[in-house]
Amino acid sequence: MTSVALSYGNPTFQDKLRHNWRAWLANAALALPLILGSLIMFLPLLWAVSFSFGQPHEFFTLPPPVIPSAIRLDNYHGVFERVDFFRFFLNSVFVTACVTIAQLITCSMGGYAFARLRFPGKRIIFILFLASMMVPQHVTLIPVFIIIRGLGLYNNLGALIVPYATSVFGAFLLKQFFETIPDELEDAAKIDGAGFLQIYWRVMLPLAGPPLATLAILTFNSSWNNFFWPLIFINSADKMTLPLGMIYLRGQDGVTNSGVLMAAIVLNLLPVLIFFMIFQRRLVEGVTLSGLKGI
């Protein structure tokens, strides 16, 4: 009796150890393929870094050195000699900052109206907005091209900002959030004599930090990586953003598939990875949120 009670109720130290070992092994067996898979995610990036420091002749030696024979910055000099890389970077920063700030304002305004205000036609407008998320942008491409030219924004950074100054998705995201704010808060402000503008500015916005951060990060990421729009609207090098600038650089003499191109890739990766490291949690949250509630 005692021995049964012991082995069931209080596992001996050996039992525990054996159990832990089995759990550890099961975990490790599961983790191994996933870890190997994760190396496939990293390896290309590491190779790009390694080649960006390499010498031209090293690309044609086999085996290609995984760690370059010496850290040389020639390829990085090569990038700045051929194109105004810093200008691309500044253009990207400017466009992304404008788009992100504009969306924070316009989407929170729209979200507030849809969530908290009554006005005729609200339902119809909202349904139309939602439907527009399902239409591929290529349907609107040619007319938008004509409109942008008509507005005098062709080959102008404004062409990359104005059409993106607001987003239906962002308004939807904020609407979902503003609907969760209790009526009491808004009513208290109304009793104190606040108008709608004051309620939006003093009550709603201060509470909307988390969804605004999510929107900012998602917008930042998509604006920073936007390629199709600049490809169509920008045709001079001094107006190019980074993704288009990369294609422009590749077209220069002796750049295709060279260390110079790898150096430019690393210069591109660096800010994105730093951004990712800082905002990882919010970004993951944002993607999950948009994934679950997006459409």
Partner: protein, 319 residues
């Protein structure tokens, strides 16, 4: 204090306050709220009209015209659609796009689901965090950079990938120079870039499954496999459904990676509908014809989405 009052009392207090503080007593409260509503949606509404509604309608209309951008458009009725249905190159790009969408969606969603289930069942939280980050990193890198990088790494004779494959005893693979392999490479690169996104969606779905279900199943003597097939997978179907829809919508619009990596080649092996559309519109200035392609693409995407939503009722498990 406020929340202790009844809603009716609050309503009355608000009305009383607004009656005394009203800047213009001639405009009713209702009207003021409506004006505020229009004011707040104005930027979004304006942008919606100028950059979506008007362009969409005129884009649809443009498909009935022959237009070279410089002279006046000619009304041609359904001619563009008839021409398109006999255009061998268009049909080829449509087939490429459909096959790409099929394989990329299967790869991204299928692999994403299995990676997520794997990560979720690991007990060490540090490893979980590492894996989630590792698989997600490619998603934040721009497609252009990804394509340029792989263009370099996948070169046939001097590329690193082929070098290490040859060390493993595998012959050099013509990653980008043979038609069949170029297509596969483009799919593989797409999966490399996007699988982490779908992993995240599935991880969120997994986390929303209540633990009690698993505990109850264990009490009933269900093993690992039974728990996977009877609890995990059925309760993941909403995530799967959502993933399939957005993966397919995205894949049908694929453009950037092919444009940068293969420019549609070799031959037309990796040319997609949007690539052809881009060339027709901004290379040959066949605006009407390009608009027709966009309309056909839209109809296909819409039909696929509607079909998926209809079929979804049969297999998606909603709690």
């Amino acid at each position: 204090m406020i929340s202790a009052q009844s809603p009716k009392k609050r309503e009355a207090a608000i009305l009383a306050r607004q009656a005394t503080a009203s800047p213009n007593p001639l405009i009713s409260l209702r009207a003021r709220e409506a004006i505020a509503g229009y004011f707040f949606i104005l930027p979004t509404l304006l942008s919606f009209l100028v950059f979506f509604l008007v362009p969409t309608i005129s884009g649809l209309g443009m498909s009935f015209f022959d237009w070279d951008f410089f002279s006046d458009p000619d009304y041609v009725g359904l001619e563009n659609f008839i021409e398109l249905s006999q255009d061998k190159l268009f049909l080829r790009t449509l087939k490429n796009t459909a096959l790409f969408a099929l394989f990329a969606t299967a790869g991204n969603v299928g692999l994403g689901m299995f990676i997520a289930i794997g990560i979720n069942s690991i007990k060490w939280s540090w490893l979980k965090a590492y894996l989630r980050t590792a698989y997600f990193i490619p998603f934040v890198i721009s497609t252009v950079v990804v394509a340029l990088m792989f263009g370099f790494l996948l070169q046939e004779s001097t590329g690193v990938v082929n070098y290490y494959l040859s060390r493993l005893g595998i012959d050099r693979i013509p990653w980008l120079s043979s038609s069949a392999w170029a297509f596969r490479s483009v799919v593989l690169i797409d999966v490399w870039k996007h699988v982490g996104f779908f992993t995240l969606i599935f991880l969120a779905g997994l986390q929303s499954i209540p633990r009690e279900l698993y505990e109850a199943a264990i009490v009933d003597g269900a093993g690992r496999r039974v728990r996977l097939t009877r609890i995990t997978i059925p309760l993941l179907t909403p995530s799967l459904f959502f993933s399939l829809i957005i993966a397919l919508i995205g894949a049908f619009q694929v453009f950037e990676s092919m444009f940068v990596l293969t420019n549609g080649g070799p031959g037309d092996a990796t040319r997609t509908v949007v690539m052809l559309l881009y060339r027709e519109a901004f290379g040959s200035f066949n605006m009407g014809y390009a608009a027709t392609m966009a309309v056909v693409l839209f109809v296909i995407i819409l039909a696929l989405t509607v079909t998926q939503v209809r079929l979804g009722d049969r297999w998606v498990f909603y709690r």
